[in-house]
């Protein structure tokens, strides 16, 4: 007979791994499905400074690997598969993946969010050719070169500081007149001699043949266009884009209640509008998306899933 799990969690970032830990610890049969490698967004984060207990020099990957170990230790299974379709209305939920089909009494959606694109001409073609969304992946290429960071939030400014360890010069390009990042992060950036700023501007176009060679910025107040060209000796420069996130909710469109921006709407106990279907972490509509809030969501979701099962599957 096909196995029916108590809980299947989609996504092995901090929210999913915490849900896995709590569910397995409560002796529920638990499966965590991840389409790539465990960790979600923090897997590519160099430094996790604001998660309580994460000590100095703790990297995203090291934190994730401890979460994975802890989750497995309590008996959760973690599998790599990409879910293509979900059937969530019935009492037994069905998840169809690339490798297998899975069944469960309850589902926790912890699919997270991915970096938002600018949508500027040239951006897609030159991704991996100077355009990047991952400083830890690509910073090294820009050792002694020039780099532009697009965005003004925590991620943008933190990554600009990280990039300044490699690049000759880092320029933050922001749509507004002031940064949105936390004050403590801003201060670090303002003190950093390698970091400069271009305000009230956005990227109009990215140019280059096989590699970033130029960029056109538009001043949003005056409409003035400014073109930057790569230093002749360098031949290229970096454009790192950190302009927010998009929720990974494509699978759930027309199936669950989503916010206008596409995030899953839940109650305070992580329940979606379908019984036995919960959501946790960045994928959920909420005011703060951090590791600290993701793990809280994950814990609540697992315990609520258990309560739901006890009630719904009562003999």
């Amino acid at each position: 007979m096909e196995k029916i799990y108590d809980v299947i969690i989609i996504g092995a970032g901090p929210a999913g791994l915490t849900a896995g830990l709590y569910a397995a610890r409560d002796k529920m049969s638990t499966l965590v499905l991840e389409k790539e490698k465990p960790g979600g967004q923090i897997a590519t984060t160099d430094e996790v400074a604001n998660y309580p207990g994460s000590i100095e020099n703790a990297t995203g990957p090291s934190l994730v690997s401890r979460m994975v170990d802890q989750c497995k230790e309590f008996g959760a299974e973690i599998e790599k598969d990409n879910i293509k379709e979900v059937q969530l209305e019935e009492k037994i939920k069905v998840l169809i993946g690339e490798k297998e089909t899975y069944k469960a009494k309850s589902v926790v959606i912890a699919t997270g969010a991915t970096p938002r694109k600018l949508g500027a001409p040239g951006e897609k073609e030159l991704t991996g050719k100077g355009v990047s969304y991952c400083a830890t992946c690509d910073a090294d290429f820009f050792t002694d070169l020039e780099v532009f960071v697009i965005g003004g939030g925590d991620s943008a400014v933190e990554e600009a500081i990280h990039l300044s360890k490699f690049a000759r010069k880092v320029t933050i390009v922001h749509r507004r007149e002031e940064l949105k990042a936390a004050k403590s992060i801003q201060e670090k950036a303002f003190k950093n001699e390698k970091i400069g700023f271009i305000w009230n501007s956005s990227v109009k176009e990215i140019k280059g043949d096989g590699m970033v060679e130029g960029m056109v910025l538009e001043n949003l107040q005056t409409g003035e266009l400014t073109e930057f060209e790569a230093d002749e000796e360098d031949g290229t420069f970096g454009i790192f884009i950190f302009v927010g996130y998009l929720p990974q909710t494509g699978l759930f469109k027309d199936k669950l209640n989503l916010s206008k921006a596409g995030y899953i709407l839940t109650d305070d106990n992580m329940h979606t509008d379908l019984s036995g279907v919960l959501a946790a972490g960045d994928v959920r509509e909420k005011s703060l998306r951090q590791v600290a809030t993701a793990v809280g969501d994950g814990a609540i979701a697992a315990i609520q899933a258990e309560k739901y099962i006890d009630h719904a599957f009562e003999e």
Binding site: K37, G128, F141
Partner: protein, 105 residues
Amino acid sequence: MLAVDKNNFEEEVLQSEKTVLVDFWSEGCEPCKALMPDIEALAEVYGDEIKFVKLDTTKARRLAIKQKVLGLPTIAIYKGGEKKDEVTKEEASKENVEAMIKKFV
């Protein structure tokens, strides 16, 4: 999978008589490390027709830039000393890499 570096890239990749697949990666790139087992699995299947190599770009930055690789992961196919095709970043999934390989076997 053969690990190449800046000293033997010319010989092992550009001068190779066989078609070569190069996995550009680095230790700091988590998506690269997640993808590596898939590339190794593809090497098992297509290894007879295509030579599979990996290049750690942290020790070959200039070489990578010269090859117009400025983002990781990048999986590229070389034939006759030229880069013929590549997939990079989120496009670099096992399925997309395999589809690219099939164009050359």
